[in-house]
Structure formats: C-alpha cells, structure tokens
Symmetry: C2
Subunit: 331 residues, 2 copies
C-alpha cells in the first residue's frame, strides 16, 4: 500500500509508492528506456487498461473502440482509491495512507497526434473531460485537491508517447499549492484584490511579457520565469476553481492553449514540456484570493538537476525576449 | 548584467542570467551535448580559467601546475561580483541586480577521478577549501547566503566531467532555505530544541533509516525521501553554520561523505547525483534552531520532470529499504 509522508522540517508531502520490495538492480532495469512495441492506449487495446471511468464516443460500446477520448485508472497507480484514510504519527514524523485516485486521460485515439495538432473544439472537449472528472471525484470527501498535468516527451518524464494527460486526487494540499494559496491570501489581506488579477492588469498595460490575448484569456511569460519560455495561461474572469469555469471560458482557454502550444512548437522545434493545472482545493470553492491557471514549462535546460543542486533556478532567457519571440509567431 | 527576480505569489527568487540576446535557435544549439576535447580544469590549462582565488599546492607557482585543489571564478558566471546592489520594484514585481559570486572548486588535478576515489584526508581538504571560501566571501556584506553544490554526471546536470563542485554567494535567501529556516524556527519556538537534533535522536533509536554512523556524523535515508536513495549527512554536534564546524567535525563529515558515496556507487553502479550543503545565512551565526547538513540526491528517476508536472514527488523506494541496502554494503 502506498503512503504519504510529510517532511518534518518544511512540510512537504511525498508519495512513497513501493508496491513490492525493490532491489537497486530492479531499479536500474526499470529506469532504462521502455521499448514501445505495444500501446495500451490505442483503439482495439482497451482490455490492456483498467475499465474506463469516462469515454466520449461516436459509436461502439463501453471499453471497446469508437471513442474520441477515454479516461481510465492508471495501471501503475501512485495512490489507491480503496481503503480508509488512516493518519498517524511516528514520533516527529507524520504519515497518511496512500489514498487517492490516479487516472489517465487518453486524449485521442490517434497514437501519433500531439495537442498542438488538436482543433480548438477538441481541446475544449479535453478540458471538459478534466472538469467532468473533477466534478465526479470531488464527491469523495477524502480528497482535498486534484492535480491535472501532462508530461510530453521523454525529457519531460513521459514514458508512453500516445497523447495523454494525468489526474491525481490527493487527501492533502501539496506544498507548492499551499505556498501559492498563502501568497495569494497575503496579497488579498493587504489589498482586497486577487494577485493574479493584479498581475494581469499590470501585464496588459506593460505588454512586454504578453504572449497572446483574447477576450477570455491572457498568456504570459511570467516575471520570474524558472525556465526559458515558461508560459502561464490565465482566464480573464476571476475564478478560484477550474471546475467552476464557464463553457465560454473553457473554450477561450482551449484556444489559448492551442495557440501557445503551436507557438512553442514553431519556436523550439516541438520541445518536450510539462504543463499543470493550478486550481483551488475541492472544498474551498469561490475563493476571492485564488485564480486557477495553467503553467507550461518546456524541458529545455538541465534546469531541474541544477535546481536540485542549487536550490534555485537559473534561467538564461529573459521572459521579455521569450514573449516577444512567441508573440510574433503565428503558426 | 544578470538580475534576480522574485515571484510575486510564492516569493521564489530566480536568476535571469542572459548575457546576450538569445534566439531560440542559439538556445537549441547550446543544449546539445558539448564535445569535450579540451578540459579547462586539467593541469597545464590554468590560463583557460579566470585567475585562481585559492589553491592548495605542493609546489609550482600561482596559476600554474602543481596544485592539488584549485578554486577559480566561473567563466560563465550566473551572477557578477562587480557593481552595487540595486533593489527596485516594478509595480507588483521585485528585482535586484545580479550581484554575487559564482566559483568553481576544482577538486583534483586528475580528470578522471571521482569523489568516491578520494581518501578521507583529501575529502577533508575539499571541505576545508569550502570553508576557506565561505570565510573569505562573508566579509562582503552584500552576500546573505552561500550555496555549495555538486552536479556529478550528465543526468545530474554536469556539463564538464573533471571533478568539481560549485559555490554561489547570493544577496538573498533562496526559498528552499527560507522554508527550512522557518520550519526549524517553528519547532524551536514550540520545544526549545533543534529539529535536526531531535530527528537524529529518534533515528538513532529506530535505526531503520540509518545508513552510517560514526562518533561525529550520522547518515540517514530521510523519512520523506523525495527520490530513491536520497541521503542526508548530519554532523552530531549542533552548529547552524558549516564554516563554524570544528576540524574534527569536518574530518568526520569527510569520512561519512566518502562512506556514503562509495555505498551509492556500489549499490547503483556509479550513479549521477547532486549534493548540496545546507547552511545558515552568513550573518546569522550560532542559531540554536538550525543545523547545517549535506543532502545527496542520486539522479535515478525522471523525478524532476514528474515533480514539475505534478508539484510533488513520487518515490518508488521506501527509505527504510534504501537504508538497509546501503547499511549492509561496505565497499
């Protein structure tokens, strides 16, 4: 059974997910590149995954071909949905049973498509599926937060190339989100305004870090970008929770996502990237101080390793230059 | 001129280090593996680096061969030592001129040696050199913290294979260190004890996460390990600042470092790794709540990319299993 453990100094939770005793030799084998002769996400191979929890289909029957999008539990879940949430201490240390959901959103039946090839409507359908899953999972009172993210390309940590994103429902608030919530609350307590709304106002005036703008969404190269060509997609309408966004805002976000992914592909020769949905905890809806958004980090530098070494990020590309370059591209 | 920028939400400082306008095409070229036909760190090539700021030598003259250890400014510094520290705001955003020191500690004249091959005495000499540099740099009142770290192997972000560690002196306290200091202070305020001293007491009683123990030092697989085989080296004598450790503690730490590096090499077939010295800010010496230590993270998983995607760490190897395995090895 996996478990969640909390670092007693900084309060960071980690998932310890050993399913079986692993010897270092197992570990070394597991880390070598996987040969992809069989794809469990391709149509016709539905029996290779756990049974679907959601599917959009034009025809066909459940757990068979005919779908355009399919959500299944992860075959190698980092957390388990079954069991009760046991919290316990061990002297200075805190742990919790590894209860959670770990799902895979198979974004297309076509193995070789990438999100940048999707139409606006297809991307809106994907965002809609994320929302459907959040709305379903929030009925489970054990879950406090949901992370939705995508690792695209080997350099970004993807192990299967068929287009997919992942969802993890957690019984805790991860450190990064807690830091964001605390920072937002500090700003709101001082000024009674959402800091992301304030950032958007300032950036729309300055223009130098704006990558894309529509009626619904703003795409920025953030002021303190951690890596070259980091971009944030912010909905203009204030909402703390992604699942409460209007259909119009979802479509606007889908358009912005398509625009920025195509710009990044054109600028950086189809880079590997990570993106992550940042959204408020499930039971804290309608927060005036938090603003959901999507952060995209291309995997261009050895920044991650360096960051672990140094404890901070060194970014060789000023966001103003990245924004200017991306703004001009119209692929 | 590089600059430091602060994220307005979470307060993380990053270094924006562009020395010249970079186009994405420059960037792509720069990220391809470097061909190492010439090593600027090998004896005889001293003129290929900036002039040394410290050298241990048996013979020879300054900036020539004959050294056993040599410290030089980084040829591609992330920060600049010249100039005054200008702090300014830009609406919501904060920046500071990129003042700092960025040095390279060339650990051996021999190109193909690794730290695990060093003798205890040679490692103690290396730690002594770190201390000499800290004591010299802390006279500069612009600097608040010093990070010393090593990226070993390409997977850990190293770009040159000649054995070296790096030092960065910063005019700010990085977010990770600030979080540690705050967590330690919380514990101390509650109980009037150092949390790392408390962790050592508990771990010495439980034994299950102890990797190595001597009179001076304890090596642990930490409770909430972020990655497989993460290890921490803790001096048993409480001290917040590395530069204030006694010669005996330095020698004890050197022995512990050698033991754990040899164990990791034997367990994991000479893995890439990052290590980092965690030490209190320069002007805050003798803190009762903080405890200097070294954290070692082998680069085994795509954890870094995954962590960026998810915002938290998933570790497939429980620290108890890693500790048991490492404890038994005696290479």
């Amino acid at each position: 059974m996996p478990e969640l453990r909390k670092d007693p100094v900084v309060g960071r939770w980690v998932i310890i997910a050993a399913e079986r005793a692993q010897r270092p030799s197992d570990f070394l084998r597991a880390s070598s590149p996987r040969v992809e002769s069989f794809c469990p996400f391709c149509p016709g191979n539905e029996s290779a995954t756990p049974r679907e929890v959601l599917a959009h289909r034009q025809g066909g029957v459940g757990n068979g071909p005919g779908w355009t999008l399919r959500v299944v539990p992860n075959s190698y879940p980092a957390l388990r949905i079954e069991g009760s949430l046991v919290r316990e201490g061990e002297g200075l240390f805190d742990r919790m049973s590894g209860i959670g959901a770990h799902e895979v959103i198979i974004e297309s039946p076509r193995h070789d498509r990438t999100l940048a090839d999707f139409s606006d409507q297809e991307l809106a359908e994907l965002l809609g599926a994320w929302r459907e899953r959040i709305v379903d999972l929030r009925r489970d009172s054990r879950f406090r937060t949901i992370s939705i993210f995508k690792n695209h390309g080997e350099a970004a940590g993807a192990t299967l190339s068929h287009p997919h994103s992942q969802l993890i429902a957690l019984p805790i608030v991860p450190l990064r989100l807690r830091e964001e919530l605390e920072g937002c609350l500090r700003h709101y307590s001082d000024r009674e305004r959402c800091i992301y709304c304030d950032i958007m106002r300032q950036e729309r005036r300055d223009r130098v870090r704006v990558v894309y703008e529509s009626e619904q969404a703003l795409v920025l190269a953030p002021w303190a970008s951690r890596s070259p060509f980091e971009t944030w997609i912010l909905p203009k309408t204030h909402a703390s929770n992604f699942e409460d966004a209007s259909p119009g805002d979802l479509l606007g976000t889908a358009r912005a996502l398509r625009a920025v992914l195509r710009k990044l592909d054109a600028a950086l020769e189809r880079p590997a990237f990570n993106f992550m949905l940042h959204t408020a905890p499930l039971q804290e809806r309608g927060l005036p101080h938090y603003h959901w958004h999507i952060e995209i980090l291309p995997s261009l530098t050895k920044a991650a390793g360096f960051e672990w070494g140094t404890g901070f990020h060194i970014n060789p590309t000023p966001p103003e230059e990245a924004a200017e370059f991306l703004r001009r591209l119209d692929p």
